[in-house]
């Protein structure tokens, strides 16, 4: 059993992770819709030399000097990337790759060289110090609170405040920068604000989970939200929700299994994304598979009915001998229709109920109307008409059929000389 003290420590660490993750999810929303995730990655790494220099100059971790250094480093990254792009013509993603790795490496070198003199070691830079965060405390209004948590809250409020104040302009700029600029919106300033917010969130994330995994916090919650919702404000809300849930869930699992909290949080984030890919409404893998299956089932049912109807037509009576179904799905559909009484067997012959006949007629009607339309308007040879009609017959509604019929003007006969059934009443 964990003692009360250790429970408190873990609760604080979890709260810190959630706060940091929320800040990252917030800026990540805008980065992802602006297709700037790579820049987020770059900034998350490139802030290191800024932090290192600020600490060397006497700033404390989580203090204003460190954040100022980080923002400066972030803006330098973007500026350098664009300068390389404009000056040498290197593609922007490659330029960012050159700049942020160089700056990050420079940061690592500075930290390593000065390890004896500053309170910042390479281990914590790469993997964060979430587990230790709860031990360094400050007094806030009579309560001992971990310094890292206070920083995380201040960062979240700052980032949320900055983005909320510029929110509409952020969205306009993200969606259509040219029109935004023409409308007088200070696009450069708006973008710089987003980059600064990214740098600030990255610094907080850096301390908690390290340089590598903070990228997951920036990108994955927003990428997950993008799959689930279609409005910008909901995207941010969902991203922050996912970020907080993954941070808490990841930390709890790491505690349970006694493994790296930062690693576990990132794994849970990846899991959230995978679930979203699978379950997203409309475009998710599951939703698409269900929609496809339902369509195939309807097609099989309609094919079955139409086959019986055509056989009856050919034999000139209400019941007919019908050959074996062509697919197992159609066989299933036939059995299903029989059980519901739409299809009936009588002395080796098959017959349709009134309802079944009407449904079959509409399928055949769609088929023959389309053949007639293609024959007349697309002037296709007669052997080209059947395949497209066979496919289209399942997708044409009553309104469309009427429209096709109106454009045909003459005759109730398809190009093969067979009668086109009239539209069902009602």
């Amino acid at each position: 059993m964990a003692s009360d003290a250790s429970l408190t420590v873990h609760a604080w660490a979890m709260a810190t992770a959630a706060m940091v993750s929320a800040s990252c999810g917030l800026v990540g929303g805008l980065l992802v819709v602006r297709r700037m995730s790579l820049l987020g990655d770059a900034i998350a790494h490139a802030v290191l030399p800024g932090i290192a220099v600020a600490v060397l100059a006497g700033g404390s971790l989580g203090g204003p000097a460190v954040f100022a250094g980080a923002v400066a480093a972030a803006l330098a990254t973007v500026w350098l990337t664009q300068a390389i792009h404009a000056g040498v013509g290197l593609a922007e993603d490659a330029g960012a790759g050159v700049v942020f790795t160089s700056l990050f490496a420079l940061g690592v070198v500075i930290v390593t060289l000065a390890a004896s003199r500053i309170d910042l070691d390479p281990e914590c830079v790469l993997f964060g110090i979430l587990e230790l965060a709860a031990f360094d405390r400050v007094r806030v209004g009579g309560l001992l609170v971990p310094r890292a948590f206070v920083t995380a809250v201040v960062v979240f409020l700052g980032v949320a405040g900055g983005l909320a104040a510029s929110w509409r302009w952020q969205v306009f700029t993200a969606f259509d920068p040219a029109a935004a600029r023409a409308a007088g919106i200070p696009v450069g300033l708006v973008t710089s604000l987003l980059l600064a917010a990214t740098a600030v969130a990255a610094v907080a994330g850096f301390e908690a989970v390290g340089a590598v995994l903070v990228v997951a916090m920036l990108v994955v919650p927003a990428a997950t939200a993008e799959l689930l919702v279609q409005r910008m404000h909901w995207l941010v809300v969902v991203a922050v929700g996912v970020a907080i849930a993954a941070a808490c869930g990841g930390y709890a699992l790491a505690w349970r299994w006694n493994t790296s909290a930062a690693g576990m949080i990132a794994v849970v984030l990846g899991g959230c994304y995978a679930v979203a890919v699978l379950m997203a409404p409309g475009d998710g893998i599951l939703a698409r598979a269900i929609a496809r299956l339902r369509l195939e089932w309807r097609v099989a049912r309609e094919d079955c009915l139409a086959r019986i109807w055509r056989a009856c037509e050919a034999e000139g009576r209400d019941a007919a001998h019908v050959g074996d179904p062509q697919t197992w799905l159609e066989r299933m559909a036939g059995l299903w229709l029989e059980r519901r009484g739409v299809v009936r067997r009588k002395n080796g012959c098959v017959t349709l109920s009134d309802h079944g006949r009407r449904e079959a007629e509409m399928v055949v009607r769609s088929h023959r109307l389309w053949e007639a339309w293609l024959g007349r308007h697309a002037e296709l040879p007669i052997d080209h008409l059947h395949p497209p009609a066979e496919w289209l017959e399942h997708h044409v509604g009553a309104a469309m059929r009427d429209q096709i019929e109106a454009e045909l003007s003459a005759g109730q006969v398809d190009p093969h000389g067979r009668t086109i059934p009239p539209e069902a009443a009602g």
């Binding site: 819709v33 509409r168 259509d176 029109a179 023409a182 409308a183 007088g184 919702v229 910008m232």
Partner: protein
Amino acid sequence: MTLAASMPLVEFHDVTVAYGRRPVLWHVDLAIDRPCLFGVIGPNGAGKSTLLKAALGLVPVVGGYTRFFGEPLARVRGRVGYVPQRETVDWDFPVSVHDVVLMGTYGRLGWFRRPGGRERDLAHACLERVGLADLAGRQIGRLSGGQQQRVFLARALAQEADIYLFDEPMAGVDVRSQERIFAVLAELRDAGRLVIVVHHDLRTAAEWFDRVALVDMRLVAAGPTAEVLTPENLDRTYAGRAELLEELGRAVAERGRTS
């Protein structure tokens, strides 16, 4: 508008634009002094869109200047509306049709003011004018190309500008949407607005525009449509291909690289 009769609504004065070091538009002098439907016509790569972007300060101008109502753009921004080409934005962006139209009001609202009832009503009215009121809540990616272009048009209307610049509003648009868009543009003109449209289709240009400018890396001719769209001018615009200018541009760019 109580402007002196001599004051052009838009004036391009000796405008030269370069991408990097390569000039793509040379010494354009053009003044439009009355509200009309004004077409900017020319072949691909002639610098038509660049001309609009230069006027709006979206691309750096090497020489010359543009004035609106006799003033630099910065002082009259709210009175100038711009509609970029449809392909320049990501239509999967998570916003609704109504959200996009509302953006037309952001410029005059400033940092902190939220769009209120007036702005929402205006956005709705603009959507009605382009025939999309019933799709207001839809995500913009789930619209046809013509509908997307009409959303852009509605956003421009919501800006309530006096001069409108449209970049290829008819490109990739179905015939019904084209007619609808043209009808709205004509309404704007009739309401005393100046509507400048970059357009590539000569056949429709002749019937739609009151005045046109033929552009091919330089201004070939400008004026009333019937006077400008002569076989001789068209020949100078389309057949000439401004080869000399293009070569010159490349030479300037090369020079810059090796020096």
